[in-house]
Symmetry: C2
Subunit: 345 residues, 2 copies
Amino acid sequence: MARGGARLTGEEFAGLPVAVDAMGGDQAPDQIVAGARRVAAETDIRVTLVGRPGEMGDTGDLACIPASEVIGMDDDPGQAVRRKKDSSLVRAAEAVRDGRAMAMVSAGNTGATMASALLRMGRLPGVLRPAIATPIPNPGGPWPTVLLDSGANAECSAAMLVQFAQMGAAFAQKRYGIDRPRVALLSIGEEKSKGTPLEKETHALLEAGDGGEGLTFVGNVEGRDFFDGKTDVIVTDGFTGNVALKTLEGSMRFLIGALTDILGRPDVRHAADALTPHLLPLAHALDPENTGGAMLLGVDGVCVISHGSSSAVAIVNAITVAHDLAVGGLVGAVADAVTPAATPA
Amino acid sequence: MARGGARLTGEEFAGLPVAVDAMGGDQAPDQIVAGARRVAAETDIRVTLVGRPGEMGDTGDLACIPASEVIGMDDDPGQAVRRKKDSSLVRAAEAVRDGRAMAMVSAGNTGATMASALLRMGRLPGVLRPAIATPIPNPGGPWPTVLLDSGANAECSAAMLVQFAQMGAAFAQKRYGIDRPRVALLSIGEEKSKGTPLEKETHALLEAGDGGEGLTFVGNVEGRDFFDGKTDVIVTDGFTGNVALKTLEGSMRFLIGALTDILGRPDVRHAADALTPHLLPLAHALDPENTGGAMLLGVDGVCVISHGSSSAVAIVNAITVAHDLAVGGLVGAVADAVTPAATPA
């Protein structure tokens, strides 16, 4: 079924497969195909692999969409998507656009994934810019905290940030079942006078209710507040969001690495053995492999952006999330949440 | 000796005390005074306390500069410094300006500390804006990584960031004895095309040598690179720097808290006891109490900004660093490093 603005509802997706880019990611295609096969074997979710025939290894019973080209992790996103029209990323996005898939998943080049989704699926009506929403694991709380934009748009306007707030709330509601997600603005102090003109203007708009009646704006939060459960959604521009996300990931990786090193020392082996069952739940809760990946919001289709290092486990989670949100009507919810911009960007 | 542009050299500082704001910080005055007394008792460094007579507790043999007012942690910095002319912060900055102290240290209101130093000591000639340089502990490397600006200026120009690079390199050289500090720009990708126009312009200026012959620019780094030893100085605007610093602190505090919780469980007591000697060096290396605090660079005097939560240990380190950098000629080195701006801000 052609889409062309006539969005499928959640129910119409039933029976369509999730299109998985088999060629994208540091561990592609092996781990990607392994994850896709596991989902198909263990659930009712249908999966279609998109990639180079003959290079995907043993794909089992999975359906495949052939694509002769691959966009590399270091390729320039805009150029690559324009030139490699028969790449797995572009073909996966086209499958969603054409109603042959309910959603797409890729662990490949993030910029090229965004560009493919944006150019092939298109923006939702009234959306100024799509944004990447990344779940930040929050082991102390009932669900992760959603950070957006975590890297799609280095430069943002206040009107864009208001839409990010709306899209992020719709995502948190659909993804985690939060009735009225609390939305906060990332700044350098709780007072509305803190930050650059962008934060001050965005704060004023959200406080004045420009986010709409359904939006619960709880004010500014700071970088130290990612784990304190004060809010469900944190809104910022894509430059700051990307720096914060990578700083979080880097500090966690550093500290977990230092601990792993200590626990591996021969003279503490018994202590390490005793602690492991206590540490595993924390490690599991913090592992980005288990969040299901980031989501590109504001395009006319479900697009999950998995971490470049995704293993089969991460791909299983990403496909499951993509399926659940497509069937659950994420795209319609995002479209309904956004107040169309007065002047298109 | 009056300063008025005729900066004291390092040697002329010899014998002058470090002025310590006894009233600023979450644990003031007890922990501040305790730290000051410890330095005076155990080293040759002279210390003068600045604060409310009768409210500082037992100050022992320490000299005191009386100040009748206190600037609170939540006071508006600009207003407080203008109105509370007899506050401990303002009096401490005046002591440096007037040549009665070699440096000042405060764990109080960061904005008011900056404003006091800026208004009383003044900017160094040619400096567009002072910046806060914060050492990020780097347990895997020989010295911390210096992040600036970590919060003084929410909005910055590329010319300001070039000066931050110069000031940060001078600080890293004086503080850690690094011969040619490597300076990087914080962005969202290593390529020079990544980031907002601010990062692109700053990258171009630094690459073209606008930082001066002595500056070693190593390109862009990302938020994940704080602990990998790729660089000695990381330059960014004060908004991004503050978000990154607080994100780092928050994620470390969260993870260390979760671990402390696990290690406190009764059934792992023996394991915890066995691991403690291994964990302590890491905890010590990461503890901001041990870095000596942040430094306000670009003003005509040494001003150490300690963390609001500073204990006596942090104050001991802050006073020691303030003394060493004053005697070591930090202010002159910063003044020499900065290329005067063509147009004052």
